[in-house]
Subunit: 196 residues, 2 copies
């Protein structure tokens, strides 16, 4: 086996959801489908590396300093939905029910993993609430211990700032991750949101 | 979401073992680990596209007209192991028990899928047996209907050519794929091979 192929397999195995065996299968598929898969994928990766960046406002991914959602005048900046990561933002968008903007934390607080407020996109959230006339923060965090710890931290942090803090309620299963839920569940959870 | 990222996700979802959700997760991981994952992976793909090709003798992947195994003088060219695909060849090599060379069919005969002898790397096999003084062909094909049909086709094709045709026996589970087996199972199957 060539060194380049070994290297490709080792890198593929570092992608989430791919173990050593599926990384080998994927690399072989790339070699065997050079024109229709390998070359377009190499090109798409180079393009993404050159063009995709993190939104300075919300932490979403996009192609400029501000993402499409932060730039869209039809999105309501007075309502901000807090998500753990960009995959959760995409899950919310697929449900097509939320018309506000987002704030991507980049994780949740975790005593076990040593993740504190300064490790998350929290300082920018405080500044945003202060400056942008935010009226409601919707916490769309998982119903895990860490997710709920993070929700309470945010509610405490913003107490007395005149912003309503709600959270997705009905339909988010205990221990469930947002990105696994179907659109209907997310819609129900959003419509039944409650004050924290 | 940017067009380049959509394109990347669509291409990732075409890799074996990755569904739409894991393709999104993988693409996000690439964006978030640009320096340590995305850029090296794009580079490895370009390198593989430029350097990796199919061995003209056996169908293995390598960097020249002949693969490392076909070029290695320590490998015994009188014994050839027939495998369905390169992943199976790799599984045999990981077991470190076979010292001969290989022939990669690129699939199995399948009436259902309309795959006939001319769709596989079979004509080259006949020529190889004729020219290279092959004494034993070891069929390392799956214990599936199509795998066994292919085994019998090869045994019939080479009848009267003075080559011994054996097949992996003990240890290959019914309906099992070689690439899923552990090294010990492969070793046992090879050592207990029988004439077809
Ligand atoms: Zn944004
Ligand atoms: Zn070869």
């Amino acid at each position: 086996m060539s060194g380049a192929l070994d290297e490709l397999i080792a890198l593929m195995a570092r992608l989430p959801g791919l173990g050593p065996r599926s990384a080998r299968r994927a690399a072989l598929a790339l070699v065997q489908k050079r024109k229709v898969l390998l070359e377009p994928l190499a090109g798409a990766m180079a393009e993404v590396a050159a063009s995709v960046r993190e939104c300075l406002i919300c932490g979403n991914v996009g192609t400029g300093e501000k993402c499409d959602i932060c730039l869209d005048p039809k999105r309501d900046g007075r309502t901000i939905c807090i998500v753990e990561d960009v995959a959760d933002l995409w899950a919310m968008e697929r449900a097509q029910v939320f018309k506000g903007r987002y704030h991507v934390l980049g994780g949740t607080l975790s005593a076990l993993d040593g993740i504190g407020p300064e490790d998350l996109n929290l300082p920018r959230l405080a500044a945003r609430v202060e400056q942008d006339g935010v009226e409601e923060l919707i916490l769309a965090l998982g119903a895990t211990v860490d997710g709920q710890t993070t929700a309470h931290y945010i509610a405490d942090m913003l107490e007395g700032r005149g912003v309503r803090v709600t959270s997705l309620a009905q339909g988010v299963p205990v221990g469930g991750e947002l990105d696994y839920l179907d659109d209907g569940t997310i819609t129900a959870a959003l419509n039944a949101r409650r004050s924290v």
